[in-house]
Symmetry: C2
Subunit: 208 residues, 2 copies
DNA sequence: CGATAATTTGATCAATATCAAATATCGTGG
DNA sequence: CCACGATATTTGATATTGATCAAATTATCG
């Protein structure tokens, strides 16, 4: 997957990104440890969580393929949470010092990084707003509309619904049922299902 | 409220931030219009939404007091969504050109902006993860843990529960009931309720 | 002191989570 | 190319829980 971060990394000198492979349950870094790198997840999953003074912990995020994590480590000396691979995982690490040197020396680089983060913020806010929609049908529809592109208002899926349902904050069953209802009502049209490519195409009915 | 953005604005030359007052339903800016400024909401609410080719629209975000909006406009020539005041609202606008000039000329400024956005990203991801917790009790507890500070693991509220319930994605009734249950179980201790300051203090029981 | 907003508890409803199970698809190795 | 196991898709039955609707009480703020 060619992510915005990948594009950014390509602006940096050759070899700045260092791949690392993690086994299930292996720590990528620990809370309080000196912040050495920020990461981009290539495959697998990394759980970020924080240990609290009372002995409990909170999960902050689960970074998946294509996600970045620990960006904030750029601006601190220590990690403020643990990062542990939930399954076998591959990441690319970017040394914070190197990165900071670049963005401090080259303003254009800082601007690029800001752009990257700003896009993230926009995306995350949209997702958060989406989660505020109670009805499963409305939520799914809103998701499709956010993802739809082009005059045709079509969405090409890049992964199974099972994965998308997590992003939606719904169970897969609820999503399949919503899909059925939306199709029933003629609000969407599912094409290219059951075909080799796997990439189903959802078209939104031109209306409302 | 003294937000991180405010701190950032203070780094800019005097008078860069331009206050603007909006009446209910007034547009702050429109989709496709040239991007002239990014904004910080001082009071009131601004709804960001996008019109789609099929005639429908999606809400992207509702920015409230202390929130910023349209940061991404820094990097585009046009706004990609509408922004309209839901109630009488005050904002501070930062001219995109001025801002871009500063961060392009002064790397330290770009770094600051990146830091600002990175913090936002972290916060938003945590909130999104929180929304993934189905149980109202668990969700509220996780929220308290995220907000809790100090060895005492205490949270000082800066607004009524009614407002917090929205952040949690629950109705206020559900939140009050969860509070009652958590207190019942001895997981939290509500102090300073019914007192002038209004700032209730919630202490998490040292355990688990 | 009156009005408005916040807190709180009760009753009921509706919707999604769960649990189950069947079919279909995909990827892999033979 | 096919068999087989793992994953995804789909539908059904049921349970649970938070949303809703109501209403009473208590703060907060001019």
């Amino acid at each position: 997957m060619y992510t915005p971060l990948q594009r950014f990394i390509d602006l940096l000198p050759e070899g700045t990104g260092k791949p690392r492979t993690l086994s299930r349950d292996e720590f990528l870094f620990r809370q309080q440890a000196p912040a050495r790198a920020i990461y981009s997840v290539v495959s697998g999953r990394v759980r970020l969580f924080r240990d609290l003074p009372d002995g409990s912990s909170v999960i902050l995020y689960v970074a998946r393929s294509g996600d970045t994590c620990a960006e904030a480590a750029l601006f601190t000396t220590q990690y403020h949470c643990h990062a542990r691979a939930e399954v076998d995982t591959q990441v690319i690490g970017l040394d914070t010092e190197v990165l900071m040197r670049h963005i401090s020396a080259d303003a254009a680089m800082g601007v690029e990084l800001s752009r990257l983060f700003a896009a993230q913020v926009r995306e995350l806010r949209a997702m958060l707003t989406l989660r505020g929609i109670r009805s499963a049908d409305e939520r799914l529809l809103a998701w499709l509309r956010l993802k739809a592109s082009g005059e045709r208002m079509a969405v090409e899926l890049d992964r199974p619904w099972t994965g998308i349902s997590e992003e939606l904050g719904l169970t897969r069953e609820a999503v399949y049922r919503s899909l059925a209802r939306l199709q029933e009502k003629g609000l969407i049209d599912r094409r290219g299902r059951n075909e080799k490519g796997g990439g189903e195409l959802i078209c939104l009915r031109r209306r409302s």
